[in-house]
Amino acid sequence: MLVVTFMLMPIILMSLFGFMFPQIGSSNPWAGKISSPYKNVPMAIVVEDRGSLAVQVADQFQQTASSTGLFEVQNFASFASARECIVEGKIKGVIVIPEGFTEAFNSHRQATVLITVDDTNPQMASIIYGEAASIFRAISDRLGASVIANMGIPADPSFVSEPVSVERRNLVGSTANTFQFLAPGFMALVVVMGTLAGLSTAIAMEKEQGTMDGIMVAPISRDAIVVGKTIAQTVRGMIQGFLILAISMLFFGVKVYGSPLLMVLVMLLGVASFAGIGIIATSMAPEQETAMMIMMLLMMPMMFLSGIVFPIEQLPDWLQSVGKMLPLYYAADALRKVIVLSATFSQILWDVVVLVSYSAITLAIAIPVFRKAMTR
């Protein structure tokens, strides 16, 4: 029973994270053919211009939207009424083809389409905007090609409309799988959380139960007790980490591009760097609940400051410095580089140095603290 719960935590966590983050162009067979994870997003379209081109463009948009299943388009009379529906949450965006659209195009001036999306969810907003914009880009190319053909210019229509095109070349693999980037971070996080949570139970519960006395009264060195507890938590942490990896690989299309051996080394170092902190914190806790609370207090900021859930470059400078002082940042960084970019040992050397230093220093402090705390 306990084994099941032990396995369940990482499984649930990873499944939630996995389905939460959209997989753009994922190699995952369940992600579907379309790149956006959002289907049939309700959108409004407002055709302010009376010209035939405006209507034509609007129709083309609606056709593409329904054939790809991306948007469910409704005609609205005005931007203002559409905007109200966005506020009410009934639609997610509005496309406006403004007055003067047809006239501009026919005079061979650039005609503009305006897209407004619901910004209250920025992540969804940027994806919807991108999809709508790319549909219009395709429409724009087709229109441009026919105009250029009629002009009799001896050049490829796509050259004239977009002389320099930009294509994205992937660093890794054939498609850019967002989860590939996120998975190593979550692996590092779950392994660390597992270690910290396990340690708080291990030491505090034994104290409460009274079995810690049984261990302390035996003729074994106090150091052996600390090392033993650390190894036990390391093993647990590693098992949970591998569970995460297995789930990521099976269900979310994550691939390990780098050396598995190096990956294991980084995970071990990550666990070791936290073991010391965990022992110190829980030795000082009078009972198990306090120990658990201390663990929570440590884990929450770490989750957000170490670049796992979102890149720390988004944070103000001073917070970034704090994040970079936490070992989780380096563990996640190294793991990511190894798994996604198949980095070599020398390429993650700095991360390794930091993790080893952390482990050595915290364990060196933990042993005497543990001894003092136990013989009060």
Binding site: L2, K207, E208, Q209, G210, T211, M212, D213, G214, I215, M216, V217, A218, P219, I220, S221, P286, E287, M374, T375, R376
Partner: protein, 260 residues
């Protein structure tokens, strides 16, 4: 009779509260020493220091020839602890628990297995040895708790309230066991609240109150000195009849949890 435990001004302070105050006592080899005192008197604290679980603030003690401050590991090899809290993992069976603790004492393999079987037989628990200890009745748990302290056959055994909360049959069993172990030559230091038990079992008694030893002698001597018929009367005469309630905030949380 030679002393096997001698304390020299043994003291333990928690911040500004003195739990054990410069006590000097001796326990003779091969005797059963009853350690009595009202709640909060300092009994558990003194036992913790003698069993090397707690470091003294001042003074020291010699246990089985070794100083508690300088040679704790040597002492640990020679003492067994049967604490008030059951030192067993509820999810593990009796055999698994005993195997784990046995290994901590350097026992293993066939020797450990046969020792465990022997001890389980001694307390009539062979039939239940593979069931989780958490499923045992309190009497059964206490019996395993006692033999846990005997795995390495120590010459000295510390028993903290060994029969509190037990059913009458188990109480009888444990008391007979204590006598048997003593007849085999073991020195036993026992704390208890049950005066008849102390009277029945102890060769000598030490009474502690407010961290100080206030009486030391055989039950007969103490009864004669104070003109009482029972040990119970002796105890109440010395420590008073007022209730000893303590919810003191001088005592740090750790001590409340039973260790420290």
């Amino acid at each position: 009779m030679k002393p096997i435990i001698v304390t020299h001004g043994l003291t333990k302070r928690f911040h500004d509260f003195t739990a054990v105050d410069h006590i000097n006592l001796e326990v003779m080899k091969g005797e059963i020493f009853g350690f009595l005192g009202p709640n909060g008197a300092g009994k558990s604290t003194a036992i913790r220091m003698l069993t090397t679980l707690s470091e003294p603030s001042e003074g020291t003690a010699i246990v089985a020839g070794y100083d508690i401050r300088t040679h704790p590991d040597e002492i640990r090899k020679r003492i067994g602890l049967v604490a008030e809290k059951i030192i067993l993992y509820p999810r593990l069976s009796a055999v698994e628990n005993l195997t784990f603790f046995g290994r901590l004492y350097g026992l293993n393999g066939r020797r450990l297995r046969s020792r465990i079987d022997e001890l389980l037989g001694m307390v009539n628990l062979t039939a239940f040895k593979d069931m989780p200890v958490g499923s045992y009745s309190s009497g059964m748990r206490q019996r395993v708790n006692v033999i846990r302290g005997l795995l390495h056959d120590p010459p000295i055994l510390f028993l903290d309230e060994p029969t509190t909360l037990l059913d009458p049959q188990s109480i009888r069993f444990v008391r007979d066991l204590i006598k048997e172990l003593n007849q085999d030559g073991k020195t036993i230091i026992m704390t208890t609240h049950i005066m008849e038990e102390a009277d029945e079992l102890s060769h000598r008694i030490g009474i502690i109150d407010h961290g100080k030893i206030i009486a030391l002698g055989t039950p007969a001597q103490l009864k004669a000195q104070l003109g009482c018929e029972t040990l119970y009367q002796v105890f109440l005469k010395l420590t008073g009849e007022a209730l000893r309630d303590s919810a003191s905030n001088r005592v740090p949380m750790r001590r409340v949890m039973g260790w420290g």
